[in-house]
């Protein structure tokens, strides 16, 4: 399976410089990307919005402007750290409500799929912090390794190592339980 990766472009880390959008629209677009990222870490939209808002306030207090090259990585890093340190206030969104069934999908299979995704979500939350950030940025935010390395302040090879290890762990932990007769559940 392949999936589309976004082309490497550091301009996306400087929202005001994204062509075709006004500065304000570009900033809002960037904010939404951060919220989507935070939701993938904590699974609650209200809390994610709050965390992103806190990150923007921190950026202002540290005088990190949206036009600077370090702004994008710094914001992703801060949102990631705030999300990992976040003490959950609200329940995570139930995946059954948000996992859309494919056209003509059997309802029983849809429920089973939701349970499988729930196992995967739990397994991701159990990963060490750096593996968790790396796998979410790579496989869910679909960032390239160079951008993830700048966000995590690591070398690309170190990021690859975290993603590799996270994949191995998730394949083991999130796999559906085997039935006694050996058939897959």
């Amino acid at each position: 399976m392949t999936y589309a990766l976004q082309p490497t472009s550091h301009a996306q880390d400087r929202p005001a410089l994204v062509s075709g959008l006004s500065e304000r629209a570009a900033l809002e677009d960037f904010r939404r990307r951060l919220v989507r990222y935070a939701v993938k870490l904590i699974w609650n939209r209200d809390d994610a919005e709050e965390i992103v808002q806190d990150a923007f306030q921190l950026a202002i207090s540290k005088q990190i402007a949206a036009g600077e090259e370090r702004f994008g990585p710094w914001m992703f890093r801060t949102v990631g750290n705030l999300s990992l340190n976040f003490r959950r206030r609200s329940k995570p969104e139930p995946l059954a409500d948000w996992n859309e069934p494919a056209t003509g999908e059997d309802p029983a299979h849809h429920v089973e799929k939701a349970e499988q995704l729930e196992r995967l979500r739990t397994a991701i939350e159990a990963l060490p912090a750096q593996q968790r950030i790396a796998i979410v940025l790579r496989m869910q935010q679909q960032m390239d390794y160079a951008d993830i390395a700048r966000i995590m302040e690591l070398s690309e090879s170190a990021v690859r190592g975290h993603v590799h290890q996270a994949r191995r762990t998730l394949v083991d932990r999130a796999a559906p339980a085997e039935l006694p007769n050996g058939a897959s559940a």
């Binding site: 399976m1 392949t2 999936y3 990766l5 939404r32 919220v35 989507r36 939701v39 993938k40 699974w43 939209r45 209200d46 994610a48 919005e49 709050e50 808002q53 969104e93 995946l95 948000w98 996992n99 859309e100 799929k113 499988q116 995704l117 995967l120 979500r121 991701i124 796998i135 790579r138 496989m139 869910q140 935010q141 679909q142 690859r160 993603v163 590799h164 994949r167 998730l170 394949v171 999130a174 796999a175």
Partner: protein, 197 residues
């Protein structure tokens, strides 16, 4: 390194679509003949698909329209919630002050309504000075004001009634001696406990 180890070591690049076409073809050809490697790659393929499905679910959560209630709840989070609580408390205090200033002295509550002593807590604005040396005993109402230190700033006057009981049990009648009404009064500590309830 065995052929299988070599193939599996390239799984990450294969998943990340970073392999050259000929390398991809080589792996695909190996997977058709090696069950172990095929299962290994299939497991990671399923993982990638599930991670993508999880990501799409998260994107739907963010993209879902928000109702006015959700917006209000969100607005009331964090420092805004603290500000709203402070505003509400301030408004409540102001309303209580207004209500206090606009009403006459009135009974707040009765405590220990049983036979014997009745303690009536009254709120009076402005506070009435109670003589310390010679308590004013309201003979007609059979009550006496006492000075009480309580935790409640609203309480300015506490009346203690002596209400004779009408016991039916002779033993109880003996214990409730009318000549000694203070015997059934609460001590100051228990009175304070009742007032602070």
């Amino acid at each position: 390194m065995t052929p299988c180890q070599d193939i599996q070591s390239r799984m990450d690049d294969w998943l990340d679509d970073l392999l050259a076409p000929n390398e991809r073809d080589q792996i695909e050809a190996h997977l058709t003949t090696c069950r172990e490697c095929r299962e290994f790659f299939d497991a990671h393929r399923v993982l990638a698909a599930d991670l993508l499905a999880l990501s799409q679910a998260a994107d739907r959560i963010v993209a879902a329209p928000r109702g006015p209630e959700q917006t209000a709840v969100r607005w009331l989070r964090g420092w805004r919630a603290a500000a709203a609580v402070l505003l509400a408390v301030g408004t409540l205090i102001a309303a209580m002050q207004f209500a206090r200033s606009s009403r006459s002295p009135q009974l707040v509550e009765h405590i220990s309504e049983g036979p014997g002593a009745v303690i009536e807590v009254a709120e009076i604005e402005p506070p009435v000075a109670i003589p310390e040396s010679r308590p004013v005993i309201d003979v007609g109402a059979n009550r006496m004001p006492v000075r009480m230190e309580t935790q409640n700033p609203r309480i300015h006057l506490v009346w203690i009634y002596d209400r004779p009981s009408a016991p039916t049990d002779p033993a109880e009648a003996e214990s409730n001696d009318d000549n000694n009404p203070g015997a059934t009064f609460m001590n100051e500590q228990s009175l304070e406990e009742n007032l602070s309830r």
